[in-house]
Amino acid sequence: MAEPRAAHHFPSVEVETHAATLGMWVFLASEILLFAGLFALYAAYRTSYPEAFAEGIHHNMKWLGTLNTAILLVSSWAAARGDLALEQGRRTMAKNLILLTVFLGLLFLGFKGLEYGTHFADGIFPGGKGAFFAENPGRGISLFFTIYYMMTGLHAVHVTVGLGILAFLAWRISRGTLTPERPHALTLAAMYWHLVDVIWIFLWPLFYLTGGHG
């Protein structure tokens, strides 16, 4: 039975795992600060144009946003469960759960693309461009959709990156190069995926739910 080997500059796998995990938490903290600027901008705009933001939220598809929230939450569960399965030495189960995560992530992106398509058909484009804004002039509604595209777009980029990494790691599990002896690459990727989920947890009420009754 072979002992797991750490990279040459670490005395043990335990120390290597701790260093990698700390590095990931710091990276995730910097990601939070990246989104913080946009959340702060949203807060400032919404405080200045509450009615326009309520109108913009009513224009978004609440049921689709809710469905996407459930999809991302379940994908997060699958990633956490897959990571645990690999640690426990259940490689096939781990690979299948990570592939489920990837599938759910793709579904999320598909629904988000569908929603963007509906907006484009209604003449709603980033930067207040399009027929919708000619019919609905006003700075507030233009700012709402600009920050909407900015935040959900940046989030979709993160989803895409996460999907790529998880798909690569599923491939590595099936090839036998990501093993239960040193599983922390999957742990770190799953952490990234969970952060993407946490960001959506806040985007959902801000862009879909809190536009007044109905």
Binding site: M191, W204, T210
Partner: protein
């Protein structure tokens, strides 16, 4: 044969806990969705929705991200970032609200700040006697 990695023991990371957490997350999501159809004042609607969101984020961070089992150094790194975000947003909103309630005018010639007319001069603005 595979040997599981020598990682620190997990007190809360197990399939059962993950099952309970995802159930709780979906329940909170349903509650948030249902609440969006209840007639509430906009400020309360936002407060309730964000409270549910914070609860969900805490569940994900603690259990799925395993923050509950992490070393204190890792917990501090993440919690500090969240705290900074909260401070940033609270002060920005406070600033925007304060400006909209009490607009400050700048005198074009001198660049000096002019108090709004609505603010009556109080005893503090009087010239102190020697």
């Amino acid at each position: 044969m595979s040997t599981p990695a020598a990682v620190h023991p997990h007190r809360f990371v197990n399939p059962f806990t993950f099952g309970v957490v995802i159930f709780g997350l979906l329940l909170l999501t349903g509650a948030s969705y249902g609440l969006s159809y209840v007639e509430l004042a906009p400020s309360w609607e936002l407060t309730f929705s964000l409270t549910f969101a914070v609860a969900k984020a805490i569940l994900v961070a603690l259990f799925f991200m395993r923050l509950i089992d992490e070393a204190p150094s890792n917990q501090i790194a993440f919690i500090t970032a969240v705290l900074f975000v909260a401070i940033l947003i609270i002060f920005i909103v406070a600033d925007v609200v304060a400006r909209s309630e009490r607009p400050t005018l700048v005198q074009p010639q001198t660049g000096a700040l002019v108090q709004p007319m609505a603010t009556p001069p109080g005893p503090a603005s009087a010239t102190p006697s020697p």
